[in-house]
């Protein structure tokens, strides 16, 4: 079973991403949106945690990264999607879990 995890909180103000990465299984995807996109900023601890999360894929909501001016500062290996891509990710996974 594959799960799409959504994280909408900044890793600098919430443990949502840490909690998510602690439980995300192989084959699952983590979508960063809203303030969650800050986790993908290159050079941060959270970007390191993302790079070390083997077997988990990462996507980021492009409009939210753009709104925060970090689209040029993203760590490698993170797929940028728009709302269409968000919908596709939901369709491609068996379950969706929001880490609020």
């Amino acid at each position: 079973m594959t799960t799409l995890h959504t994280v909408n909180k900044s890793p600098f103000s919430s443990s949502a991403l840490d909690n998510c990465l602690g439980l995300a299984k192989n084959g699952s995807t983590v979508l960063l949106l809203e303030d969650g996109v800050y986790a993908a900023t290159a050079g941060t601890k959270s970007a390191e945690a993302i790079a070390n999360a083997d077997g988990v894929s990462f996507a980021i909501l492009g409009p939210d990264a753009q709104a925060r001016g970090i689209e040029g500062k993203l760590a490698d290996g993170i797929k940028v999607v728009d709302y269409d891509g968000f919908v596709d990710l939901v369709a491609e996974h068996d379950k969706v879990h929001a880490w609020l």
Partner: protein
């Protein structure tokens, strides 16, 4: 696929109410079905028709009302969350002895059973929240 959406955050609070709307619009444009949108916790505040945001800002409630009309969406407001926050329709205002009601066009008030049913009937329940 058949989708349902749960919204736990009020309008203009942070971003979840906007994210949910953009997601719903994208899903409908791709031909997916939205079985229900359930407004829970502070999310019920998205359903007030008395909000008057500045003219150059988006009107989140109106956006939902318009999308409801266009796609015949089922927009359900949790009754317990609504009662606590002063959101009511005409019947509920009468029942509680209140002198006004404020639910916007296209929304209806119902119970948590509607959320459970949405979870059962849909392929995916996507939650947006605080």
């Amino acid at each position: 696929m058949k989708l349902s959406i749960q919204i736990n955050e009020g309008p203009y609070q942070h971003q979840a109410a906007d994210s949910a709307y953009q997601f719903a619009k994208a899903a409908l444009a791709k031909g997916h079905e939205i079985f229900r949108v359930f407004f829970y916790h502070d999310g019920v505040n998205n359903a007030t028709r008395l909000a008057v945001p500045p003219q150059d800002d988006r009107n989140i409630t109106q956006q939902w009302t318009d999308l409801q009309k266009e796609h015949d969406l089922d927009l359900v407001v949790c009754i317990a969350a609504a009662q606590r926050r002063g959101l009511m329709d005409e019947d509920e205002a009468k029942r509680q002895g209140k002198d006004a009601n404020n639910i916007a066009e296209g929304f209806r008030i119902s119970g948590l059973g509607q959320l459970i049913e949405a979870g059962i009937e849909s392929d995916h329940l996507v939650t947006f929240g605080a």
